[in-house]
Amino acid sequence: MSDITSLTLTDLVKNIKDKKISSEETTKAFINRGEKSRELNAYITEDFTNALEKAKIFDQKPNFDLKLPGVPMAVKDLFCTNGVKTTAGSKILNNFIPPYESTVTQNIWNEGAILLGKLNCDEFAMGSSNETSFFGNVQSPIDKDLVPGGSSGGSASALAANLTPITIGTDTGGSIRQPASFTGTVGLKPTYGSCSRYGIVAFASSLDQAGPMSKNVKDCALLQEIISTYDEKDSTSIDFKRNAYSKELTNNIKGKKIGIPKEYTVDGMPKEIEDLWTKGIEYAKDCGAEIVEISLPHTNYALPAYYIVAPAEASSNLARYDGVKYGFRSKGENLIDMYEKTRSEGFGEEVQRRIMIGTYVLSSGYYDAYYIKAQKVRKLIKNDFDEAYKKVDAILTPSTPSAAFKIGEKTNDPVSMYLNDIFTVPVNLAGLPAISIPAGVDAKGYPLGLQIIGKAFDEQNILNIAYAMEEKIEFKNKITDWWIK
């Protein structure tokens, strides 16, 4: 058997069920590799001692009927975990220990999985390179000083570096799909309302969705099947019939109509992205899909609308971090002074910037010009997709307009950083599901991803398309373990 840590989730589960390996052995293997990989800075909090303890307990009375029997895994530090520090990558939650568990993580533990620790991310998920984390940059295992993407950068890095067999992230504007694309992994952003937001530190409530990140599409389907449940504790959770995604997974996509939106070509987009897209179209055709040219005319307005809606909601969602109930507090001469110092010292630069943008667009005199305008544009973007889906079953685009960049390369230019999300953001605004799968590499050998966007609640369909294309693409991630001495 090859190294435990390089197994896919599906193989790992099979080996555990076949009693070829124990949960303890598995957990030890991931802990070992985690300890040797601290240079990646993927973890904010390691929970290794507890993990090993839980693995031993599992092995004493194993339940192999579960979908994740004794499988250790690490999760993004945006999910509240009962009794385990949860920071959202921020100083303001540096010492916060939730007395509750998010619904999504609870669903995972209910299937027998074991928490390895909490993974680094951009502060409050605001970032595209994991450089806004209070706990420092995350290195991509692809290359030294390369960003793993963001905001689920720690998750992507840990997954690609085999520190966890699978993981979960959150995606508000591309935070699962972009890092997946940057690290040669698979990432799914489910339909809005598919996974409960209960217990996930909120960034922008109308856009946030949790989703799986995995080494292949099958693993992704399995985890999606586990985490997607209707939840009464989340008023925006939707009660729809959920498929058994992994069981129903098929590579037969013959006759499926796949749309190619002509607007997803941007100025200055590297030729290798265009080539990747063309190759993707060929793969889809090879799988028996029918290619249809479509138009999503308001695509170019998605990013500006997003940078109104997301900060507006964030400015309000982050008002609760005021030094009173939990988290960091700075001493102040009076209440207002305490608030201002706490928030100015507790939040990082990008978070402060977005709170300020959000406050501004909601403030009196600007609300209609910005916030309402953006909500209207959001409607137009959704209408574009509704129109397109009268003709096609899914839409194929590149995941990002470029491959991963170097740490520090874009930190001084917020707008160029924001442009990273140009292909992913429209999907969040419309609340649709989309998956990014690795599809090739650029000239430097850095991974590039393709995005398949589905109709609302049609996760099964995009998983099937991704599954079929994955077989044709035969992508292999080249990780040299450069960080292990």
């Binding site: 939730p98 209960y198 309000s316």
Partner: protein, 491 residues
Amino acid sequence: MTKDSSEYLIERYNNVYEVVIGLEVHAQVTSNSKLFSSSSTTFGAEPNTQVSLVDAAFPGMLPVINEYCVKQAIKTGIGLKAQINKRSVFDRKNYFYADLPQGYQISQFKFPIVGEGTVILDMENGPKEVGIERLHLEQDAGKSIHDMDPQNTLVDLNRSGVALMEIVSKPDMRTPDEVSAYVKKLRSIMRYLGTCDGNMQEGSLRADVNISVRIKGSDALGTRCEIKNVNSIKFMQMAIDYEANRQVDLIEEGKTIDQETRLFDTKKNETRSMRSKEDAHDYRYFPDPDLLPLEVTDEFIEKLKLDIPELPDEKKKRFIDKFKVSPYEATILVSDIDTAKYFEEVVAKMGKNLDIKLAVNWITGELFAVLNNKNLEISESPISAKNLAKLINLIKNGTISGKIAKTIFELMMDGDKDPQIIVEEKGLKQESDPKALETLIDKIINDNREKAIEYKQGKEKLFGFFVGQAMKASSGKANPQLINEILKKKL
């Protein structure tokens, strides 16, 4: 300019001002759990014991709306004869305060659950209509305690998230008396509906009072000031009086009135500007993305309408029509749901001997006096409606006299005693046997021969003397009507 007694006008030199008042009443919804969380709403619990993770705004906690609170708001809307909006939206009102854990209050801004309605006030000089602008649901804040610790403010979040109905009136009131009548009427309607207990001591009902003044006869509205969070009718009236005079003085001095939020200091009996809330007015309302629009169906509303009891205005009309009570008496009887219930129970228990006048007199006279004295609500009355009805029946069928009844009434208060039993135990039954009374009167006439002669000679005043003697001789038990008849015959 003529001025009738129901007006409230302020005169300075040659100018006569009237006061324009509108109220924003905050009424706590009667419910078991909070508006968006499942913690209890019970008053008076230990600090921070009725606080859930949602109420304390922990990261990732989300609001889920309480169906009962929605129903309560709609029922109140129906009681206010108001438009019920089938689609309403919850917004976030953003501001920072120690007792506001989320950093925003969930409220309804653009699309409230209830629209325009009316309330009729029963004023001395006739009914007066006050318009309702809207009613919306919102969360209450926690409580800041400033006097327990010299350096710090302590925060108790027990109230945080409790459902409130904010009922906004049109600026239709002109006098402190109308304000009092309005608050009492709202309270009465909500107590009939069971949607708010109206307990002002516990803060279940409080109001922001908007006041402006203008030259009487003018149509323009003056600059208004809002007096925040006044929690008793008396204080509302005092605050209006102070504030209206303050505004008139400013105008007379040629100064301008700043539109501002003020505070009523109950100790100094004055209003003063609240620590200038420099930026507090930009609340950055926007639809709460954690909640979807609230949609209710016609069917849902119709079903609630079936639950609406007879309300004070209808009850008053029925009392007047059916029982022939005066409008004044009817107003008193229906003003509080428990009084109306008590009255109707007395009426029901009196059965065929029914005497409405007597029942009304006993309730609004003797009973109210006792309740007032003992500072009790009618629901806590020491004498049950059943026993009061029995007592009235004993008077009505001649078993006891009205005078003896008062004695029995006193005795009944000790453990809601049955008046029939008291009559028997104490031998207080009225003497109505004509023969026995004749013997008694014969003796009295005999003992007072001279007076009897004087009476016959025309000194009619002496008749009272003989009645008194007869009552005295019977220890008050003699049937006064019979005494009269026999005396007239014998003398």
